[in-house]
Symmetry: C2
DNA sequence: CTGAAAGCGCTAACAC
DNA sequence: GTGTTAGCGCTTTCAG
């Protein structure tokens, strides 16, 4: 691979000069620039970003840690994070934690060692104190990590309220909520709060199933839903904490001969593309995925550039009514 | 951030010695090792991978270029590529081309400049000659780029045959195939060949719709399917070239009052998780996604390590029958 | 306006 | 066994 030295020799100038045209520093004659660019092209030269980063102490790389890139929600998050990062000349180092504690920890260390300029953290199995050791610009998704670390989240509470209200308005008399893990201190937990506050205020019978499946063993949701309907055959409304779970609920309803939305009404959460593919079309609480990604990238870059950023960034959700309610 | 020098000073030895314990070279007394490790921990030291990579001329980074990480197929590919890369101590630089030529080209240059050790290429809008300039270990997905570059692909031809045969066996009298772009010289095109060879041999009326939507403007497939049924109301079997398209077909069938599988039978392609979420359960030709990813990573690492690798790597597909046939 | 030289953090000859 | 030194490819002071 050609280096700056090769280019310099070919043009007959010093490496300093080549570096200058590379970075457009000071006055360079047009003629000189042309000759240098030509040599670069001839040699198929690309400046070594490793060397540049080492010198500048800036890699232009962002680490993205998520539980599972193949989960539709995180796939869409990643897609938009990449989009906005690219726009700002940042690259993405992809870290899939599979919600495995030690893998998450290793990735955190690896990212630090790799001199990434900042981290977007969407996987949350580690304790707060692990992050104090990192000492790098950080943005979290859906989790308040500490007083100083900014986070981005949809308005899950509002989402819980909207879902519960819709089901009640549509005439449901007994509503089930299939929640995610409530022990991890995630903001997603407030979906549960919003749901509960609403059904209690409206005095609607309800039942909550907490899944501690870490959200990514899809296959097992079928079983959970099956048990739910066995124990509570009179359930006529379900608020699932993700669209993927909602899809499982629909499948199970079909298997049990329950018609949707006639016998059971279903509301999902996330607003991923999946909801558009399935039949019947899934009513859901849409998270503003693109804006979440955009905000995360912006907050991170602002921090990298030494700007003060807002700690709390709650983005609005939206009820999208389709055919399951 | 602490450097090797800080550690050396704290322990009272030279940087060489610290480097030695870091890399476990030569004889080091247990006592010394312990003191060095302790200092590292106290300083919260992480070796700078940028500097290491620069020296070693090896970054342990793999570039992954795909059209769209939020497309379920590529999401699953990426998940497994990450899995096997991580196992082998490689990191993933994620590049989403959106099937945009110039973005793909820029990412290619960027990866080279970033000194990645190799590239897995799953997005194919560029001409062969762009790759000769790259001169880096390369593996392509679904495309024969040149005589020397190894590729990994599912047995698309067999998939096309299996799909056509199944629909014929199930009694379909007029079968539609919704294909991807046949002009890009992808191996996926052989799905079409397998399908055609079979329906022609069996003398089954058929119609092919080629989509040049680049495969990722999902919303527009609805229109295509609508037109298809308008022009050919007697179609009773559809072979879609992806599960996502198949899902759209199911949606459209429902809208048009066509019952699946009674009036129309549908076969998808890919075998992504989506197929398990939708109702009715989608019959599909399953690609061995995990093995494709594993093979790609292995071929790339072998090349990085200077081994000879096999050029053609065709992996078997499998017919998965569910409820749409 | 251009070049020699130092240094980013690390590793590995090569000495002692 | 341990340290001195050069150098990976680049950028930037600082002389000239």
């Amino acid at each position: 691979m050609a280096t700056i030295k090769d280019v310099a020799e070919r043009v007959g100038v010093s490496v300093t000069t080549v570096s200058r045209v590379l970075n457009n520093r000071g006055y360079l004659s047009e003629n000189l620039k042309r000759r240098v660019y030509e040599a670069m092209r001839e040699l198929n030269y690309q400046p070594n970003e490793l060397a540049r980063s080492l010198f500048r102490k800036k890699s232009n790389i962002i680490g993205l840690i998520i539980p599972d890139i193949s989960h539709p929600f995180f796939g869409e998050i990643a897609r938009y994070v990449e989009y906005y990062a690219y726009k700002n000349k940042y690259k993405i180092l992809l870290c899939n934690s599979q919600l495995n504690r030690s893998k998450e920890q290793e990735y955190l260390n690896m990212l630090k060692a790799s001199q990434v300029d900042g981290i977007i953290m969407g996987s949350h199995t580690l304790d707060t104190k692990e992050f104090t050791k990192i000492d790098l610009p950080l943005v979290t998704l859906d989790r308040q990590l500490s007083e100083s670390i900014p986070y981005v989240s949809a308005d899950h509470y509002k989402g819980g309220v909207l879902a519960a209200k819709l089901l009640i308005r549509k005439g449901c008399r007994k509503i089930a909520h299939i929640s995610g893990n409530l022990k991890l201190h995630l903001l997603a937990k407030t979906r549960y709060d919003g749901f509960m506050d609403t059904v209690i205020r409206e005095k609607i019978p309800h039942v909550v199933v907490e899944t501690d499946l870490n959200g990514f063993k899809y296959d097992q949701y079928g079983k959970i839903v099956e048990n739910l309907f066995r124990d509570h055959p009179d359930i006529d409304g379900v608020f699932a904490s993700s669209d993927v779970i909602a899809a499982q609920v629909l499948k199970e309803c079909r298997r049990l001969g329950k018609e949707v939305p006639k016998d059971v009404k279903v509301v999902g959460f996330d607003g991923i593309k999946l909801g558009e593919y399935i039949t019947p079309g899934l009513t859901t609480i849409r998270q503003p995925i693109k804006e979440i990604a955009k905000t995360s990238v912006q907050l991170l870059i602002d921090q990298i550039n030494g700007k003060e950023v807002q700690r709390e960034n709650i983005l609005p959700v939206k009820l999208v009514e389709k055919e399951t309610t």
